[in-house]
Each structure stands twice: as C-alpha cells, then as structure tokens.
C-alpha cells in the first residue's frame, strides 16, 4: 500500500505551514522582549508550529512552507526584508525543521519528540550565530583592530545563541511540540485527506542518509555565500573613487543631479497634491 502523500497534499501542507507560521512570526515580531541584565527572555519564534507539522506530515513541505511564510509575513509584510541575508534564515529554518521531521520515527513517542524539538532549535541557532559573527566580521573594516569589538561580538552572539537554545528551545519548541503533536495526531490528518503517519509511513527516502546531511551542509554553505560576495566588489568601488578627480566634473554632475532631483520632487509633490485634492 502506498502511504506517501500526493503532490496536492504536499501543497496543502505547504500552504498550512506557511500561513500558520507566518501568522505566528507576525506576532513574535511584535511581542516585546524582556531583558533581565544581559539575559534576554525574548520570544524568538513559535517554531513548534512547523516542527509539529513536519512531524505529522511531509517534513520537506512543512519546512519550506515555514521558511517561506516567515519571509513573506514577517519580512515582506512588515517591510523588514533584509535582502540576501534572509537566504541564511530561510536555509537554516528549512534545515532545522526538515531534520526534526525526518528524525522522528513515531509521532506517538513524546520523549523522542521533545528531544528532537530541542535539537532542531539548537541546530538552527548554532548555524544562525555562526553566520551572524561572520557577517559582522565582514561588515566592519579592520574588525580585529577595533578595541573591544571582536570579544563583544563573540560574547553577544554566543550568549544570545545559548540563551535562545535554552529559553526558546524549551518554552517555545520542546514543551509545545510535545503537547501539540499527540493531540493533533490522528485529528488533523483527516482534514487534509491524509492517513496518519506511523512507524511504517514511507517518507520520500526512507532513512536519514549521509546524502541528506551532505545536502544540508551544502545548502548552509550556499546560504553563507549569499551573504558574502567576493571582495571584488570592494575593489571596484575603490577604483571608481580614485578615478573621480576633476573638480569641475564633480561640480557639474552635482548640479545636474540637484536640478533633476528638484524637478522630480516638485513634479511628485504636485501630483500628490492633485491626488489629495481629488480624494478630498
């Protein structure tokens, strides 16, 4: 008997995971954090939602859906899209949730689920912290030379990472996932027209093979590479800056730029005024 999911069921899981996790990130983005000294009790994410879905349904669809949902709801909708940096988050979240979904064999084993939910947060946070440290190192010229900066970056990142693993990991991943999965198991599946997952369920690719882990590592490297393009870019800028030397050309181009900008601003203003009049 074929127990794997059909394409449209996978799409359902994707849509479900995307909308739920997206909504959750909208909230977590806005819930204020509580800081006691340097220990921050912030609600990093409600990662239990996609982890629960990954355990109950197809892990890859749930993972991709959650990562997409986070980018769309909390980044694009709230205007916080961080460009290529989001690639890293997308990849780390996807990997963590996918691994969590794959590692759980039996959705009824609560202890197993709790451990894996914590592990998923740890994986995600460690990858995230690595990228963050590299990012600051790259953004600041002569990073090592600035007094106190390297230590403080390592300290803040390392501490935040541990903080999140224990705080978010336990309260927003381990406990809620262990609470949700047994309650949803057998109840949510019929709503999507899927058979509940059990030990015999065939996931696409039966075991967590070295190949899967290799792909995860590769994807992580691609995510990092998205953030650090080669240093060629710096060389180009330097070259252009030294090329500009003639005082007159600078003045003329500035003047031209100024004129065009003013003209445009006036035009825009006028158009806006017209529109406002229309609306009044």
């Amino acid at each position: 008997m074929n127990k794997s999911m059909t394409q449209s069921q996978k799409l359902m899981v994707f849509v479900l995971s995307m909308s739920l996790y997206g909504l959750a990130t909208l909230f977590t983005e806005l819930i204020p954090s509580l800081q006691v000294g340097i220990v921050e009790f912030s609600i990093e994410y409600f990662i239990f939602i996609p982890i629960a879905l990954a355990i109950l349904f197809d892990p890859l669809s749930a993972a991709l859906g959650a990562a997409t949902g986070e980018i769309i709801f909390s980044e694009i909708m709230l205007g916080q899209f961080g460009g290529l940096g989001e690639l890293e988050k997308f990849v780390t979240i996807t990997i963590a949730i996918y691994l969590a979904g794959r590692l759980v064999r039996d959705p009824k084993n609560v202890k197993n689920i709790a451990c894996i939910a914590l592990l998923a947060v740890a994986i995600q946070q460690l990858m995230g912290a690595t990228v963050d440290i590299l990012k600051v190192q790259f953004a600041i010229e002569g990073f090592e030379a600035v007094p106190g900066l390297p230590e403080s970056v390592f300290f803040t990142e390392g501490f935040a990472c541990l903080n999140d693993i224990f705080f978010s990991g336990i309260f927003f991943s381990m406990i809620p996932t262990a609470y949700l999965v047994p309650r949803l198991h057998g109840k949510i599946e019929p709503l999507l027209g899927v058979k509940p997952r059990d030990r015999e369920t065939q996931l696409s690719g039966v075991k967590l093979s070295p190949k899967v882990i290799g792909i995860c590592i590769m994807a992580f490297i691609v995510g990092i590479a998205g953030e650090f393009l080669s240093e060629v870019g710096i060389a180009i800028i330097d070259w252009e800056a030294s090329w500009a030397e003639s005082g007159i050309s600078i003045f003329m181009s500035m003047l031209l730029a100024g004129v065009i900008i003013t003209a445009l601003v006036i035009k825009f203003k006028r158009r806006q005024a017209n529109l406002e009049v229309m609306y009044d």
Partner: protein, 271 residues
C-alpha cells in the same frame, strides 16, 4: 523597560496589526513608487541591498542613506513598519555598543558600529521602499518574471489574501479562550509579568484549534487551485506570458533609474 513593555502591549491588538499590515500592502497604490515597474524596483533593490556591504566610506554611505530615506518617504509606509525599523536598528546597535564598552572599547568603537548601523539601515530602507511600495500582486508578478519559483510568487499573493481571514479566525479563538479563563491580576511588577506570560500562553494554546481550522481551509484552497489547473498552469509558458502581460516599463521607470544613477554618481564624486 517595564513602562515601555506595557505601552507596547496596550498598542498591540490584532485589529491594529491587521489594519497596519493591510494598509501597508494595499493602501498606497497612488504613490510614485507604486507606479514603477516591479522589475525596475527589484533590480534597484538588488543594487542597494548589496552595494552598501562593499563600502566603508561614511560620506558615501550617508549619501546612499539619504536617498533611500527619500524613496521610503515617497512610499507612504504605515507607521508600524517605520517604528519597527527604528526600534530594531537602535536596539541592535545600542546593545552591541554597550557590551563592547565592557570589553574595553572606547569612543573609537562607536565609529565602526555606526558605519555598520548605516549599512543595515540602507538595506532595510531600500527593502521597505520596494516591498512596501509595491502592491503584492505586482510584486509577485515581478518576481515571477525573474524566474523566481512560482510557488513563492503564489505564496506572496496568497499570504496577503489569507491574512484577514487568519487574523479573524485567530481573534475568535483568542476571545473564546479569554472568555473561559480568568486572567491574572495585573497589578504590580509581578502581576504585570504574570499577565504577560498568561497572554503568551493563551496565544500559544490558541494555535491548536487554529491549526485544525486552517487545515480545513488549506485543503479547500488547494482543491480550488487544482480545479483551476494551478500546477499545470505553472508549467505552461503561454499562461505565464499572459500573467506577465500587465507589466510594462514607462517614463516613470526611466526617471527613477536616471535619478538613482545620478545620485550614486554624485556620491562617488564627492568622495
């Protein structure tokens, strides 16, 4: 800190959040930025999102910052979005600065941190311009044109459509939770803390019924999509062409490109 937390909590209601997000998405179709072709804006964004990371000159960065600040002003973003932007930038840099002082940093540490903040600010403002300035349908078709996976493009358009329903559903569940339970007394420091925890707990519990409800909805959605041949349409080049027919570059795009290029050029010349 406590006062700030409480004020934030008072402001935060689901109604408010929904209004802000929807206003941000659909409420500014009449701006100049919204008239620009999504493809132009996306190219522009890639440029402004990547370039600052390769620059280390404060004047140059400041020039770029002013430019993206102006474009952001033109999009008429919702106040919530701007608030989140400022809040995020300030807390992140401030925190790093304070900690660096503990490790023997001095005023010289301030410079590099400010430069980094400027870089982050430029990229975020550029993204606010593009992603808040465009209405989601146009954004989705722009992304589709660049060969972005159609599932992602579809998700953007879909997310904005489903958001009001999701919020309503969530609010109903939240309200019924509140009606049944007794909320703790929120007087005093400990009471406030307990109240906050109570709220977060309710939000988390609400996801159990929400998951079931949305599961039903997502099945309906996907079945409706399948009936209309969603997965086959995605692979069909003719249909894709029909979808993208609404895109077109005009004079606004040319102006926008010219202004951006000249401004950048001017910045380079000053430096």
């Amino acid at each position: 800190m406590k006062v700030v937390t409480n004020q934030l909590w008072d402001k935060f209601s689901i109604e408010f959040l929904r209004n802000q997000v929807l206003k941000n998405a659909y409420g500014n179709d009449d701006t100049v930025i919204a008239k620009i072709d999504p493809r132009t804006l996306l190219i522009w964004y890639v440029f402004f999102g990547v370039l600052p990371w390769f620059m280390h000159n404060p004047t140059l960065l400041l020039g770029l910052f002013i430019f993206v600040a102006v474009t952001t002003r033109l999009t008429k973003v919702a106040p919530l979005v701007l608030f989140l932007f400022c809040f995020g930038i300030l807390t992140q840099s401030g925190y790093l600065l304070i900690v660096s002082w503990f490790f023997g940093g001095d005023l010289a540490t301030l410079g590099p941190i400010l430069i980094m903040t400027l870089k982050v600010a430029i990229t975020s403002l550029a993204s606010i311009t593009v992603f808040s300035g465009l209405n989601p349908d146009r954004l989705a078709s722009g992304l589709l044109w660049f060969g972005c996976p159609d599932q992602f493009a579809f998700s953007i358009a879909f997310a904005y459509r489903i958001l009001p329903i999701l919020m309503e559903e969530f609010q109903n569940i939240l309200l019924s939770h509140r009606l049944r339970g007794k909320s703790p007394n929120s007087i005093g420091w400990r009471g406030k803390f307990r109240y906050l925890i109570y709220q977060v707990k309710i939000i988390m519990f609400s996801f159990l019924p929400l998951m079931l409800n949305i599961a039903k909805r997502s099945r309906t959605t996907v079945e409706a999509l399948e009936l209309r041949g969603y997965r086959y349409a995605n692979q069909n080049k003719i249909i894709k062409k029909m979808k993208l027919r609404q895109l077109g570059m005009g004079t606004v795009d040319v102006y926008f490109a010219i202004v951006s290029i000249i401004w950048l050029w001017g910045c380079f010349l000053i430096v």
